[in-house]
C-alpha cells in the first residue's frame, strides 16, 4: 500500500513535470536559460532522506524505475535518467547518515543531489552528442538555474511530504 502511494505521487510529478513545460507561460520557461524540472528526483531524495533507514534502499529502486520512465516518455534515449537518478539516490542516502534530518540539512542535500544529477546528465549526453555545450555555458545557462528552481520546489515539497513519509517509514518498519 505504501509502495503504491509513493508510486502514484511519483507518476503525478512525472506528468506535471512535462505539463509544466507546455502550460507555463512561454516567456518564463523558454528564455535563454535551460531550466529543467527534476521534480521526480526531489521526491526520490525525500524518500532517501526520510523513508530509507540505514539498510533500506527503496529510493534507489524508485530512481531506477521512474528514471527509466522519464527516459521512455520524455527523451527517447533509454538508461540515462535511470542510472543518474539511481546513483543520486544512492549518494544522497549515503550522505544522509552524516546529517541530522532537519530542514536546512535536507535542502543542502537536495541542492547537492540536483547538481550532481544534472552534471551526470550533462556528461552522459555530451558523450552521446545530444548536446554540444561547453562547461562554461552549461554552468551559467543550465546548471545554476536548474539547481535554484529545484531548490525552490524542494522547499515547497518539504512541509507537504516530510511527516507523511516519516509515518510511512515507521509503518513500513513495524509491519
Amino acid at each position: 500500500m505504501i509502495r503504491f502511494s509513493i508510486s502514484v505521487f511519483m507518476v503525478i510529478f512525472l506528468v506535471l513535470q512535462g505539463m509544466a513545460m507546455s502550460l507555463l507561460p512561454a516567456k518564463i520557461v523558454y528564455s535563454e536559460l535551460l531550466v529543467t524540472p527534476h521534480w521526480v528526483l526531489c521526491l526520490i531524495m525525500i524518500i532517501a532522506i526520510f523513508f530509507d533507514k540505514d539498510d533500506m534502499y527503496h529510493s534507489v529502486w524508485y530512481g531506477l524505475l521512474f528514471g527509466l520512465l522519464i527516459d521512455v516518455v520524455y527523451t527517447g534515449v533509454l538508461g540515462v535518467y535511470m542510472v543518474t537518478y539511481a546513483m543520486t539516490a544512492y549518494v544522497i542516502h549515503g550522505m544522509q547518515k552524516w546529517f541530522h534530518a532537519n530542514f536546512i540539512a535536507s535542502v543542502l542535500l537536495a541542492v547537492f543531489g540536483v547538481a550532481i544529477a544534472d552534471m551526470l546528465l550533462y556528461v552522459i549526453y555530451s558523450f552521446v552528442q545530444v548536446t554540444a555545450m561547453d562547461w562554461g555555458d552549461y554552468t551559467t545557462l543550465r546548471l545554476l538555474p536548474t539547481v535554484l528552481a529545484n531548490a525552490v520546489f524542494f522547499v515547497l515539497l518539504y512541509p507537504l511530504f516530510k511527516n507523511r513519509v516519516e509515518q510511512w517509514s515507521d509503518r513500513w518498519q513495524s509491519a
Partner: protein, 293 residues
C-alpha cells in the same frame, strides 16, 4: 538487500555501466519503430497526461476566450477593411484552380504532392529536458499517424513525428532538427523560379533554421518565403516553413546558406495537425524489393 549494495558495490557499478551503454546503444540507433514495452509505457503515461491535461485545458481555453472577446471590436475593424481585398483574391484563386484542374485533366495527372489528409491533435506534454525538443500529442498509430510524418500548425510547419505509439506520439520540433532529418525545400521568389535548398539544422543562438545547399548564382532576398518541396519523399509540398532573414556564403564557398525565421511559434503550441501525404510515399523496404527483382 543490504549486502547487494555494500559488498558488491563495484560489481553493481560495473553492471550498471554496461546496462547504461547497452540501453543507450539500443535506443540511439536508427529505429523504425519503438519496442513494444516502450509503446506500452508511452501510451499509459499518455493517458495519465490526458487526464491531468483536460481540466487545465478547460481553464486555459476559457481564459483565451475572454481575451479574444476583449479584442473583438478592434479585430472586427481590421478584418472589415481586409474583406474587400479578399473578395477579389477568391475569384482569382478560383479561376486559377479551375485552370489548374483543366490542365491536369489534359495531362492525365490527378495526384499531386500537395494533397494531404490532416489528423488533428492536441499537445498534452513537452519534454522536461530542454536538450530534447520533443512534445507528446494525443494521436497515434490508431489514428493513422506514422513515423516521419510532418506536423504543422495553422501558422506553419513545426516538426515531424519522431515515434508513434498506439494512441500517442512524440513530435520532434524543428528546433531539434539536425543533419539526420533534412527537409527538402523551395525558396519562393517573385518573378523568378524557385530556388532549391535543404533545411539542415537549427541555430539555437538566434532561433533560426539553416537552409543549406543553395547554389551560388541564386539571388535570395530578405522576406522570401521558404516552403517544403515534397521532393524528400515523405512530406507533402507547399507546407509553409518560414521566411529568409539573412544569406551568406557557406564555409566551403561553393553554396549559400540562408537563415530562415520559422513562421510557427515553436514554444507556444497547443493544437497541431499531423500531415498524411496522399501520394504514395516510397519506403525503403519497397525500394529494396524493387532492387531484387
Amino acid at each position: 538487500m543490504p549486502s547487494l549494495f555494500r559488498r558488491k558495490r563495484l560489481m553493481t557499478v560495473l553492471i550498471g555501466f554496461i546496462i547504461l551503454v547497452a540501453l543507450i546503444g539500443f535506443s540511439m540507433r536508427d529505429r523504425s519503430e519503438l519496442s513494444v514495452p516502450e509503446k506500452f509505457l508511452q501510451d499509459s503515461v499518455g493517458w495519465v497526461q490526458t487526464v491531468f491535461h483536460s481540466p487545465v485545458q478547460l481553464v486555459d481555453n476559457a481564459y483565451q476566450n475572454i481575451q479574444d472577446m476583449l479584442n473583438v471590436y478592434e479585430q472586427n475593424e481590421v478584418l472589415k477593411t481586409r474583406l474587400d481585398e479578399y473578395k477579389g483574391l477568391i475569384q482569382e484563386n478560383q479561376q486559377v484552380e479551375n485552370d489548374n484542374q483543366e490542365l491536369r485533366d489534359t495531362l492525365d495527372k490527378t495526384e499531386s504532392m500537395r494533397d494531404y489528409t490532416p489528423i488533428q491533435g492536441t499537445v498534452i506534454a513537452r519534454s522536461s529536458d530542454r536538450w530534447f525538443e520533443q512534445m507528446t500529442i494525443n494521436k497515434g498509430e490508431e489514428h493513422g499517424v506514422e513515423k516521419d510524418m510532418a506536423v504543422i500548425t495553422s501558422e506553419g510547419m513545426v516538426g515531424k513525428i519522431e515515434s508513434a505509439g498506439a494512441f500517442h506520439s512524440n513530435v520532434q520540433l524543428l528546433s531539434g532538427f539536425d543533419e539526420s532529418n533534412k527537409i527538402s525545400s523551395w525558396v519562393v521568389r517573385e518573378d523568378e523560379d524557385n530556388a532549391f535548398g535543404l533545411i539542415e539544422g537549427y541555430d539555437s543562438e538566434s532561433g533560426r533554421l539553416l537552409l543549406e545547399g543553395i547554389s551560388l548564382d541564386e539571388e535570395l532576398e530578405e522576406g522570401d518565403v521558404v516552403m517544403s518541396s515534397g521532393m524528400g519523399g515523405v512530406f507533402p509540398s507547399d507546407l509553409r516553413i518560414g521566411t529568409v532573414e539573412e544569406v551568406e556564403n557557406d564555409r566551403s564557398g561553393l553554396t549559400k546558406t540562408a537563415y530562415v525565421e520559422p513562421f510557427a511559434d515553436l514554444f507556444d503550441i497547443s493544437h497541431v495537425m499531423v500531415v498524411d501525404r496522399d501520394m504514395q510515399t516510397v519506403s525503403e523496404e519497397e525500394l529494396e524489393e524493387g532492387d531484387d527483382q
